[in-house]
């Protein structure tokens, strides 16, 4: 199930009479040149992406990089100019209108940046919406919606209207509305970006908590690196409609593929993000006296706490099965926390 969602050679060019422009794009013309020559806007440029089942996949990029465009191709709110999208073996682009509606109803649901709740419907009606359009009997959708209302912590708000709720609460409704249909895929378009930092962090925890239990395939869009690192099991970075790096979060921080990516990560606190397993050297050993053993998922800041307690200035790393798999010396630790020299020169 490694290639649950498969995107192949996906192009999107906005504008009228722009099918011709595709050929120029394929020959490698830049976004600016294209706009000048043909008045067409390049939205997505040769996207190839595999998204595994049951993981949170983050797509990150600045505004205008095409991330919202990309996510809307998955449920075909936007039609591609060229390319292939296969989800669980189904070629999404070949669905006819009726099949597409059913596909949206059953297989994926979406959470929006500005919540996009129905202002004229009550909270419970909002959560029921995805089930209601499927003409499911009222008894069943009432029960399901009540369940999700409780699950996101809004019990008792059934008959309120969205604008009577705070932003954070509204997005809980948005989340419940998306989860109520039991769709396998959850598309989250900057879902927490409009919330203030504390509420955002709280919502991230809600999502992580739900994901532990639900194991949905989540495509999460954000422009916020901290958010991407907190919830993403894999991160794709978009720039001007192309993917510049698609990797796990640790590798993105340690090996940014180009300046654009290193720009992104320049302000993060490395010691709080990088994990022990990413910098350790492989090393098989038995337990030693006076040498602390740490978990491989521990972040460097905590490793530092442990390592300073010892005389030898090194620690052993164990995996989840309590087996020792590596070690970290003080030197390695410092190199890990330190920003690469070329970055320092660049931003000095």
């Amino acid at each position: 199930m490694n290639n649950f969602i498969k995107i192949k050679n996906l192009y999107k060019i906005f504008g009228n009479n722009c099918t011709e422009a595709l050929n120029s794009v394929k020959t490698g013309i830049s976004k600016e040149e294209l706009l000048e020559k043909t008045n067409c806007v390049l939205g997505l440029n040769d996207i190839n992406l595999n998204i595994p089942k049951g993981k949170i996949h983050v797509i990150m990029g600045l505004s205008g990089s095409g991330k919202s465009t990309l996510i809307r191709h998955l449920n075909r709110l936007i039609e591609p100019t060229f390319g292939e999208i296969t989800i669980d073996g189904v070629n999404v682009l070949e669905l006819n209108n009726k099949e597409l509606l059913e596909y949206r109803q059953k297989n994926m649901s979406m959470v929006f940046q500005k919540f996009a709740l129905f202002p004229h419907k009550t909270i419970l009606e909002n959560i029921s919406y995805g089930l209601m359009v499927q003409n499911i009997s009222e008894e069943i959708y009432q029960e399901k919606s009540q369940f999700w209302l409780k699950r996101v912590g809004l019990e008792g708000y059934d008959n309120y209207y969205p604008n009577q709720l705070s932003g954070g609460m509204q997005q809980r409704v948005g989340l419940a509305r998306a989860l109520a249909t039991d769709a396998e895929i959850l598309l989250m378009d900057e879902a927490f970006s409009a919330l203030d930092p504390l509420i955002r962090s709280e919502m991230q925890d809600v999502l992580i908590d739900l994901q532990l239990e639900l194991k949905k395939t989540i495509v999460f869009i954000t422009h916020d690196l901290d958010e991407a690192l907190k919830i993403g099991e894999r991160i794709s970075i978009l720039r001007d409609g192309s993917i510049v790096q698609d990797d796990n979060p640790q590798k993105i921080i340690l090996n940014p593929s180009d300046n654009y990516v290193s720009d992104f990560i320049k302000d993060i606190n490395r010691s709080r993000v990088i994990k022990a397993k990413s910098i350790m050297t492989n090393f098989v050993s038995i337990k030693k006296e006076n040498v602390p053993i740490i978990d491989s998922e521990m972040v460097l800041e905590e490793v530092l706490q442990e390592i300073t307690k010892t005389k030898n200035y090194y620690v052993l790393v164990k995996n989840k099965k309590d087996k020792i798999i590596g070690k970290i010396t003080l030197n390695q630790l410092l190199t890990g926390i330190q920003r690469p020299r070329k970055e320092i020169e660049k931003y000095a």
Partner: protein, 292 residues
């Protein structure tokens, strides 16, 4: 240099021929099809007459009670109810009860007709820019052409009577509801519509579940305007045989009866105010979800 000072106009014979041709063409059209068209509107006539009879034959206390009850359902406002009661008592006392009932009947029928025709047209306009581009100029013409001008073909076709009057009122009153239905639907938040789409709502589910409910306050502003314009047409419509408050006003103009004109004119104003306040209240109550 004559062509500079005198506009090079069509010669007189040609112009006369031109007008004659148009007139004759329309006359023969109305001779051939007038009866068919009249028959087509027969159900409308009986509908209107039925309404009028209902209003006129119901004992006045019951009529007032029903009107007050409807106003209460729609507005839930004591002030509006009290004002309405007072107005109708005064109208009756000054001997305008029957004319007022006739006017109410035609306004009601005209408004219903405008709603049933206007809202679907507005929806069609909101759905397609091409339809909008086609209909907007027609609405512009309907709103700006002097009403007397379209009275001519209507009277030629259908003669003098209630139905031509009703059609004239509708032509004048329908543009606002069409425009505001179109506008209301187009103003529905794109994000919300996208959300409905992302859950797999089909066209009708989006229309009746999201677009129309959210556009309803705007649509209702259109209904309000339509009623106001229909009332404004009452006097002109009475020139082609529509009963009601317009007729005494018309008589007052030609005979310089100041009191008669004022009384009936004010009765029209009072009706307008009641309709306006009540429909505005409905519009506001539809937006309850916006308040905390």
């Amino acid at each position: 240099m004559e062509w500079l000072t005198k506009f090079p106009e069509m010669d007189r014979n040609g112009l006369r021929e031109f007008k004659k041709t148009v007139d004759n063409a329309f006359t023969s059209f109305s001779r051939n099809y007038g009866e068919g068209i009249e028959n087509f509107f027969d159900p409308l006539l009986s509908f209107l007459v039925g309404f009028e009879k209902l209003f006129l034959n119901t004992p006045w206390p019951i009529t007032i009670f029903v009107i007050l009850f409807i106003c209460w359902l729609a507005s839930r406002s004591i002030i509006i109810i009290a004002g309405t009661l007072l107005s109708f008592l005064l109208i009756g006392y000054f001997g305008m009860w029957e004319d007022t009932m006739s006017t109410l009947a035609i306004i009601l029928v005209a408004t219903l007709l405008c709603i049933f025709i206007g809202i679907p047209i507005g929806i069609a306009m909101a759905r397609s820019n091409k339809v909008q581009a086609l209909i907007l100029p027609i609405l512009d013409v309907m709103q700006t052409i002097p009403s007397f001008v379209y009275l001519i073909p209507v009277v030629m076709l259908l003669g003098i009577g209630k139905v031509p009057g009703l059609i004239a009122v509708c032509i004048y009153a329908i543009p606002p509801i069409v425009r505001l239905t179109n506008l209301g639907i187009r103003l529905v938040d794109k994000d919300v519509l996208e959300a409905a789409e992302s859950f797999g709502a089909n066209y009708w589910q989006k229309l009746f579940g999201v677009q129309i409910p959210l556009a309803l306050p705007t649509i209702f502003a259109g209904v309000n305007q339509t009623i106001m314009m229909a009332l404004a047409m009452v006097v002109i419509a009475s020139m082609i045989g529509v009963q009601g408050l317009g007729l005494p006003v018309l008589r007052a103009i030609s005979n310089q009866y100041l009191a008669l004109g004022l009384m009936n004119g004010l009765a029209i104003v009072v009706l307008a105010i009641i309709f306006d306040r009540v429909t505005q209240r409905i519009g506001k109550r539809m937006q309850r979800y916006k308040s905390d």
